[in-house]
Assembly symmetry: C2
Homo-oligomer: 331 residues x 2
């Protein structure tokens, strides 16, 4: 039995250190990540994934904690993935981790993982997707993904979950208003948290008006609800709405469709990224790509024009093939 | 003389309709965009590009207007590119367009262009880069790029300009505080606008403290300044700081280095995207890629693992080569 198979066996038996180790490997990407994902693939497909997003200060962590407690009470194993796409300077995810630990660290049925990274382009959603599969393979019934902020990276992360809950607060203000349209496209449920503050009713009315104008699915129209997560008011209703959405996804055939589309997208985005990496490596050697690159860097050719010419020309493909067929260059 | 060459000649002679038409073509991408960029490449490299970013409501449009007026007074031709990466539902960029028009529509020395798009992944920064080159070729001395919001897309857009001005307001609040670290990485100048409101001095002090801890370049430490753009207070100082940053970039050799690195990055990102498009087209035909894809979609194989195997295997490259070498498939 290989070391990897041993870790997988230990992880499946509930060993949290083995799970943490395998998550670290998949976060780093590359051939080792592929080996872990290949070894765990047969155990995936069971977990249901819930995403919680919204602006900073909306009470997302508290909402996640309360939801996790309800799922634990229902006998479910829970994984929590806290994703912070902002710069490591803020340290937000790690702080959140420690605060949450106070509630759950004694409970073996909850596994919490933080993921912070420099706001790169595309790397984080890939890390999240891979980590979700490992958590799934570790027998979690429910995985809750929480993001900080409401930017494009968060939207990309939310595209990989089954149910998206958008948490807002009454005083969210202009900054949020301009983002609402983007949120509308991803939200399955809108929760207005801290609903004891003034303006909660008005925000609900606004959201409902917006939803009335929007093209929603025939099988699901995103509901809105008032929440006071820190007072534990409305969390059971939120739990019920998530379960309803899960049921609607299944009965309409959209859960299977969504997951299949997600597999397809990840396949192509990985291909694209890896092709990019290979092309950079090819350009470092002597050859047609290196020649074009030096013309681009010296300003003799437009970069977009040059790239379009390269891609429609067989020369670099033949060089690429040659590197694959030399055993010294194989991974 | 081809129609394209005629439009380029007209654009170079100051025809605003020809410029607008060429911008529309490059925004759409593809082979036509490449043709426009190839035809205008020889006229590029003169314009200096300033980026203005910050949260909604910070007064960015007013700041852009005032700056544009100062550059006009100095005899410069100005292009303004207003970029709104949020959903088209908001219509923010177009509204901003009309408001700004009131000040400048009679001035032939200012050309204003709005660009709004669904928050896609990477498409917008590419459109901005191509549009900047066309504006550059149309004899603009100064191009000002303005974004809405402070998300990852805005950060990506700001990476393609020469000087980045981050505009904040005293009451920016928590939502902005958490983003400050990300802004720190891209800002060349911090402007605290609406500085007659309480808290401006405190925000300047906070920013200075943050800058003291940060690793800044030996040749440029981002300055902070108070601004009241709508009262025209401090805009001349901002103008002076931008000119200082421009001079520091040139004398340190970093302007040329930055622009070269940008050409390189655009070359590779275009290659990567185009390779992705080609791979999708290949998977639609019968062949090794289509076989792997169907295994991924049916859940038999992990998408990341499958993609890594494909990329390290020559079979799909040979299929790709075959499509290029069939004249029927050439563009």
């Amino acid at each position: 039995m290989s070391a990897l198979d041993q870790w997988v066996t230990q992880m499946r038996a509930g060993d949290r250190r083995a799970l943490a180790r395998l998550l670290t490997i998949v976060e780093r990407g590359g051939p080792n990540a592929a080996a872990v994902l290949a070894a765990t693939h047969q155990y995936t497909g069971r977990a249901y994934v819930i995403g919680i997003t919204g602006p900073p200060g909306a009470g997302k962590s508290t909402t996640v904690d309360r939801l996790a407690a309800l799922y634990r009470a229902a006998g479910k194993e829970v994984g929590i993935l806290a994703v912070d796409p902002t710069s490591p300077f803020t340290g937000g995810a790690f702080l959140g981790d420690r605060i949450r630990m106070q509630d759950h660290y004694l409970d073996k049925g909850v596994f919490i993982r933080s993921m912070a990274t420099r706001g790169g382009t595309g790397g984080l959603p890939r890390m999240v997707k891979a980590s979700l599969r490992v958590l799934d393979a570790s027998n979690k019934d429910i995985i809750i993904v929480e993001t900080v902020g409401v930017g494009q990276t968060e939207v990309d992360v939310m595209r990989v979950v089954d149910s998206v809950v958008v948490v807002l607060v009454p005083e969210a203000g202009d900054a949020i208003q301009t983002q609402k349209a983007g949120l509308l496209e991803i939200a399955d449920i809108f929760a207005v948290n801290k609903a004891d503050r003034p303006g909660a009713g008005r925000l609900i009315t606004e959201l409902e008006a917006m939803l009335n104008l929007a093209d929603t699915m025939p099988w699901w129209r995103p509901p809105t609800l008032e929440l006071q997560a820190s007072n534990n008011v409305g969390v059971d209703k939120l739990y019920g709405l998530i379960e309803e959405h899960h049921a609607a996804l299944e009965s309409s055939g959209n859960l299977a469709k969504k997951r299949q589309e997600r597999q397809r997208q990840e396949f192509f985005s990985t291909l694209e990224e890896e092709a990019g990496t290979l092309l950079k490596r090819l350009a470092d050697r002597q050859g047609s790509l290196a020649t074009v690159l030096s013309r681009v860097e010296s300003g003799k050719e437009d970069p977009f024009v040059a790239a379009m010419q390269v891609i429609n020309n067989g020369a670099f493909l033949r060089e690429w093939l040659a590197t694959i067929e030399q055993p010294a260059d194989s991974p």
